[in-house]
């Protein structure tokens, strides 16, 4: 089976550690993923803002990059949802029947990470170790567009050392919503404030979710409030082991990295 990693544009530029975690995790489970270098973005930011014409070349680039793969794995419920449910709209808009066929063929091969692990690899215990108190936020698109159900939870429950606590009003949107976060920033912030409050109420050290875009929003709220809770992508927790857990959960160490990057710049 040829498996491709769709890392997503936001993870590529902003959260590469999530992509690295997916590679490490799948490699540990015996799956070597390809990273088709021609990939860019699923086009969702454009589609959801109403720019269908602008999304056409982006979706075309997507279809070309991932053609021929049996499975396309992505650490994002939202981007998986876009590939499965929105690419058809964009392709129809293009008026190009070949693109319509191409995206129709690729749609069912797209898997959000937890779907790929549970449904394709049929594992829930991925051999992870993460000795922290964690709460899980089910992001809207994975919950309602994809229907990932309890897969992420089952994966987390199998992690050694973890203490999983319930998030109140977990199914309510965090208020990110792509360009909604800036076009309607007051409402977005009001929603995010409630989500951040619920997260803090759990007493968890870490908020985990399957979408870094939502985590960027909630984490940005928690950070501004000095909330004392850090956010992590599901892939990073599942990739953690006894050997790596210290490295990937220590804020101190990341601060050191920042310093060393700054030195590089000097």
């Amino acid at each position: 089976m040829r498996v491709a990693l769709m890392v997503t544009c936001i993870n590529d530029a902003m959260f590469p550690d999530t992509g690295k975690a997916v590679v490490r995790l799948l490699r540990r489970l015996g799956v070597e993923v390809d990273f088709p270098a021609a990939q860019t973005c699923c086009g969702q930011p454009m589609v959801n803002t109403g720019y269908l014409d602008e999304a056409v070349p982006v979706v075309r680039a997507y279809a070309e990059a991932f053609a021929g793969y049996d499975a396309i794995v992505t650490p994002s419920g939202s981007c998986a949802g876009s590939a499965r449910h929105q690419h058809g709209i964009v392709a129809r808009r293009s008026g190009d029947p070949a693109l319509v066929d191409a995206v129709a063929e690729l749609g069912p091969r797209v898997y959000e990470l937890s779907e790929f692990l549970v449904d394709v690899l049929e594992v829930t215990d991925v051999g992870a170790y993460f000795p922290h108190k964690v709460t899980y936020h089910p992001t809207c698109h994975s919950l309602r567009m994809l229907g990932v159900g309890d897969r992420p939870r089952r994966l987390l429950e199998a992690v050694r050392g973890i203490t999983l606590v319930d998030l109140p009003a977990a199914q309510e949107c965090c208020g990110f919503g792509g360009t909604f976060a800036v076009k309607n920033s007051d409402t977005s912030v009001a929603m995010g404030a409630d989500k951040a409050r619920h997260v803090r109420e759990t007493g968890a050290e870490v908020l985990v979710a399957g979408d870094n875009s939502c985590l960027m929003h909630i984490g940005g709220m928690l950070s501004r409030q000095q909330g004392g809770v850090r956010v992590m992508h599901l892939a990073e927790i599942l990739a953690s082991t006894e050997e790596t857990s210290a490295e990937h959960s220590s804020v101190e160490l990341t601060a050191t990295n920042v310093e060393s990057d700054a030195e590089v710049l000097r």
Binding site: M14, T49, G50, V58, A61, C140, R144, M191
Partner: protein, 502 residues
């Protein structure tokens, strides 16, 4: 009388005002969480009582959606059948292209009976067409008899919810409105009025009873209009509907053409879906059905106004058409995280919430800034679609309407900054090499930002609390600095991590 929505600001500005109203936020959070709990318990009960492998509620939704969809796709035939059945049973059928025509018909019926007042059953469509104002301009007073409508009318207020137009008011505010205003328009509220809901409801009963007993003309809408029999259906709770539909001599019902249900039997799934989705009850206290005139029982003169007012425009939209399936239950409002925080007034229409965000542009057409702001008033979380009893894919229609809004500006001589940004993104994202260059530039920015960032943000980097041009984000949220090395650069440098050295 109550105000109008004319000249409302665009959604983000209206929302900002509403978000600052802490009383409103509290009232809405309390009311919507109550109703959400009731609804979800009943959905579970239906799943249990129907049984089987698939969700019973989902199968009921599918049936309800199909009934409405089948009516819409054959609407001309059903409308003609409805007219024929109604006429055969002694009703007078009128057709109205728009609000002005519908209002003129109702005014002329009232005038024909020298009525200087009418009693009204709660009806969204008469709100939509501004009937009360039109009647008042002709010297006919329209009394709203639904409790929430009465609260809105007495308070010179605007409706903010489809089912409970006064949802933004709590009991203390309602008591104050009753004490202050009832005396101006009829029987005063008792001086010792408390804010107990039962006491407030009792005051409304006393106040309105004299109006019910003396009114000659009543005005209603209809929840459903059965084409094959000519039967109209009104679903209600308080009995004010029954009063209006039964006691006056003349009844005028204004019915949107999308209310058609093909056959009597097809009412079944809708009558099971509506009360559970709207008030969270197995059945609403009262449902009245009538077919034209019944000799010796109820109004002996019955008029039905079939109204278009933009519905055929919505019908012509192949994606948006599904919005006409709406049965006005307001479940989408009650589950919407945006509505819960902004309330209904921010939508600038009698149809607020997720359904309003699609229905208003579909009925009116896109093109004015207020209407065009509505499809963006959603985070696309999908809770509305999940709750909708007739499976209107509201997020799908929202995205479709956003494209219509954008397409409406494609000819602009000076493109919006957003359009310019989207075209730049298109350029970068349609070619991985160009994206790589952009990322290298942002990586440099990330290194610079990392040096000046204030706090460590999870995910591995410093966070930024101010970004030039990014205040819509950073006014309340930190933003992670871009990564110093993109994933694609890392992959290339380390051969996918295989050559990574620590």
């Amino acid at each position: 009388m109550s105000g109008t929505f004319v000249g409302m600001p665009v959604f983000p500005s209206a929302a900002r005002t509403a978000l600052a109203d802490t009383q409103l936020r509290h009232n809405l959070a309390h009311a919507t969480s109550t109703i959400r709990g009731k609804r979800s318990r009943l959905v579970e009960e239906v799943d249990e009582s129907i049984g089987g492998d698939d969700s019973g509620w989902e199968r009921l939704r599918l049936a309800g959606a199909a009934v409405k969809e089948s009516a819409l796709r054959d609407l001309d035939r059903h409308l003609v059948a409805l007219e024929e059945a109604l006429t055969a049973r002694g009703a007078t059928v009128h057709w109205a292209r728009d609000a002005a025509e519908a209002n003129a018909i109702v005014v002329s019926v009232a005038k024909a009976h020298q009525a200087d007042e009418v009693v009204k059953v709660k009806s969204m469509v008469t709100q939509e067409i501004g009937l009360n104002e039109a009647l008042e301009a002709e010297g006919v007073l329209a009394w709203e008899t639904d409790l929430a409508e009465l609260i809105v009318q007495l308070g010179d207020d605007l409706p903010s919810h489809i089912l409970v137009p006064a949802i933004h008011r709590n009991r203390a505010e309602i008591r104050e409105i009753f004490l202050r205003r009832m005396k101006d328009v009829g029987r005063p509220a008792p001086a010792d009025l408390t804010d107990e809901p039962a006491v407030l409801a009792g005051a409304a009963r006393e106040h309105l009873r004299e109006k019910f007993l003396r009114a000659k003309v009543a005005v209603s809408g209809a929840n459903f209009a059965v084409a094959d029999t000519g039967t109209l259906v009104v679903v209600e709770s308080e009995g004010n509907g029954r009063m209006c539909l039964t006691l006056p001599e003349v009844l005028v019902s204004v019915v949107g053409i999308e209310k058609v249900v093909p056959t009597w039997e097809m009412l079944d799934p809708l009558l099971r879906l509506l009360p559970r989705s709207s008030t969270g009850e197995r059945m609403n206290p009262y449902t009245s059905t009538w077919t034209g005139v019944t000799p010796g029982d109820g109004p002996q003169e019955v008029h039905v106004v079939l109204l278009d007012n933009g519905r055929t425009r919505a019908l012509a939209d192949e994606v948006g058409r599904q919005a006409l399936r709406c049965i006005r239950c307001s479940a989408c409002l009650n589950v919407c995280p945006v509505y819960e925080r902004t309330g209904g007034h921010a939508y600038g229409s009698v149809y607020p919430g997720p359904i309003g965000a699609i229905l208003n542009p579909l009925l009116r057409g896109t093109g004015d800034p207020q209407t065009d702001s509505l499809p963006y008033a959603s985070s696309l979380c999908g809770a509305c679609f999940e709750a909708c009893p007739v499976r209107i894919d509201i997020p799908e229609v929202l995205v479709h309407l956003r494209a219509k809004v954008v397409d409406g500006h494609r000819g602009d001589r000076v493109p919006k900054a957003e359009a310019v940004a989207m075209r730049a993104a298109e350029f970068a994202l349609s070619d991985a090499r160009r994206l790589g260059w952009a990322e290298r530039a942002s990586g440099v920015a990330g290194r610079v930002a990392g040096r000046f960032g204030r706090r460590a943000l999870p995910g591995g980097r410093r966070s930024l609390s101010r970004v030039p041009g990014g205040s819509a984000w950073t006014s309340a949220r930190d933003l992670p600095a871009p990564a110093t090395e993109s994933f694609r650069t890392w992959w290339k440098r380390t051969d996918g991590g295989r050559e990574e050295t620590r």
